[in-house]
Symmetry: C2
Subunit: 117 residues, 2 copies
Amino acid sequence: MPDRDPECVFCGIVAGEIPSTKLYEDEEILAFEDIHPVAPVHLLVIPKRHIPTADDVRDEEGDLLGRMFLTARSLARSAGIVEDGYRIVMNVNRGAGQLVFHIHFHVLGGRPLGKMG
Amino acid sequence: MPDRDPECVFCGIVAGEIPSTKLYEDEEILAFEDIHPVAPVHLLVIPKRHIPTADDVRDEEGDLLGRMFLTARSLARSAGIVEDGYRIVMNVNRGAGQLVFHIHFHVLGGRPLGKMG
């Protein structure tokens, strides 16, 4: 089982103790729908391991982040949002809007997207 | 030399034919300052190979995308924007605001960031 923070809501989702609408899962990655969507399509892709922020990603975890990116790309295809456009976002720390301190790629689409920040 | 699109401005930057303020470079990745910054810190991380959109990333290029992510993270540290927060963004196709069709991670920081789209 990956490292877990007992206070972390995303770790709770990984453990199956907090419900989610799962879209993809493998040994290291989980994707599910954001419960507070800001766009018609708003998905989250997370590592199962508890990594608080992008700044905590280890140098040897580039491969994991790459697979999270590929997962985001594939889910955008499945959601039918590629042609009209979508955005992959990772917020780092509170000043950027990070609310859950377990890293996640947001995948936003299904409407024209405004400024990126 | 990586694949190049002769019409692409980022390929021109990679080739050194279009000037840029380079921040990082290795065999496969280049990072430089955005010439139209939307935040006090606005950096771009690109692959040297011409990949038009995230949807064109090959399954075997996850590692490349992961290293691009690690580069973005490291440059955020160098720029001193970690504590106050920063955002990593990739826009995919015009509806999301993609202007240059050669994939790039935006790294935005140096001010509080608003909505992500």
